[in-house]
């Protein structure tokens, strides 16, 4: 099992990360090395072991369905890189015909 440059390209695409060719080579080597070490867990028989996603015996924590004070439009937009008329501005999403 080894991580190729093509694997890195696929992962980077999934994670929305643009990488240079140099980065791709560097990361493929490093990720390969790390995953090789992490692969150690395959040594253990885990067939009848349930997974743990979370250590607390908590489930479905709900609050009352009541409105509470929240951020104003101005506060919510205060860190936006680009805004207009109370909205976040983003580049074009749909292709032009």
């Amino acid at each position: 099992m080894s991580i190729t440059v093509r694997d890195v390209e696929h992962i980077a695409w999934l994670a929305r990360l643009e990488l240079s060719e140099r980065d791709k080579r560097k990361f493929s080597k490093q990720l390969d090395h790390i995953l090789d070490h992490a692969g150690k867990i395959k040594e253990i028989d885990l067939r009848d072991v349930p997974p743990t996603s979370h250590v607390l015996p908590l489930e479905n924590v709900f609050r009352k369905d009541e409105s509470e004070p929240c951020l104003t439009d101005k506060e919510a937009l205060s860190n936006a890189p680009k805004k207009e008329k109370g909205a976040f501005v983003v580049p074009r999403i749909l292709a032009q015909d």
């Binding site: 992962i11 999934l14 790390i34 743990t52 860190n79």
Partner: protein, 486 residues
Amino acid sequence: MELHNLTGYKLHNMLQTKKISAVELIKAVFTRVEKVERKVKAYLNLDRDLALSRAKKIDQNIKSEKKISFLTGLPIAVKDNICTKGIITTCASRMLENFNPVYNATVAQRIIDRGAVIAGKTNMDEFAMGSSTENSAFGPTFNPWNLETVPGGSSGGSAAAVAAGEAIFSLGSDTGGSIRQPASLCGVVGLKPTYGLISRYGLIAFASSLDQIGPITKDVRDCACLLNEIAGHDPKDSTSLRTNVPDYTKALVKEIGGLRIGIPKELMGEGVSRDVKDSVEKALELLRGLGAHVEETSLPHLDYALSAYYLIAPAEASSNLARYDGVRYGYRAEDVSDILEMYSKTRALGFGDEVKRRIMLGTYALSAGYYEAYYGQAQKVRTLVVRDFNEAFEKFDVLISPTSPTPAFKIGEKVADPLQMYLSDICTIPVNLAGIPAISIPCGAVNGLPVGLQIMGKVLGEETILRVAYAFEQNFKGVGKPPLRI
């Protein structure tokens, strides 16, 4: 003794009896900062005027109050991944270089409400990913004990600030050892509380099932005092525990006769340096002398904890960090033709290498075809780690190990080899996987660099580990203060 070197507990008594004022104290701390900060670089952001005006207000309140709360007037440093309203919070990342939180984290709100003076925001590894604070986008922090070595990480700034007297104490966060390992390398006390004991609301998320905020202090009493102030249920954090918070200072008794201490042999293995082992063994000798029963034990699955952690934590991180898309806050790349290009350029330019590595590791571990083999298996290993600890705590009151396998290492020594860096967390990671509390206290020094002892307890066993830590500290000669000749 200069004020900056005193503990919060002593300074609290001096403020209470009006021997000093809050203004005098914050000025003393800033005088110290002026002297040493250009060498240590513990802080990312210091707001002297804000701190001073706050100290003035607090002095007004002290005049009219008979009994002041513990934190009143005490200067505290806060890790820069804890949101502070109106104070830039960067997570040591270009991505959040200008991020100005519109709300306070619950812990920040609590310490402010109880009269603490925030001295500044401390340096860290970007998004808390790292063990040396070298992954900060704004340059590393230097260990006050030896400026050529790292302070540990990711809460390196918070630990170095306390060690160098640039704050009375500080807050850090710990996902795989990020409070305990820097505390160990800087010769101070650091506690990772039970998962859920302290609210994570407003803590910028790294790996949500592992992250926990905790205190970094000069001694065990301050640790208990600060924990008293920040522990407790918060309706804004759904993973916050509904539990009665005791007065942790009541646990500070020197008596540990008959206490059962287990030494997991997996955490004293070949990765641990001879010098560190010697220091730990001497510490165990001291604890035996105080009447504790010390016995070697085995938690066999700890051998797999590091592997499981480096799948689970990156998997959670890859999901948590998906929010940095350049839309609502943070950095946004310019000159892009469409939204996909904006996302991928923003993230390419906004994140450093370690953050990219972890996002990719996590994305891989969660991707189609690999989910079961990596993430799924790692979660099962986590179950076995939890079981090992549960079984061990049937036989032992606490478990003890080194905090870090080595004392502070040289700046630059491990940056080119991520796996070597990850191995610095080998003794601390199992604790986060199991959600249990653990404290690191100084137990010796090697070539002028402190060594830390890790004391682990069962879920909500903070009082027991504080008691052991306190008993040890009271009978140990201490490691002193960093020489820090400037």
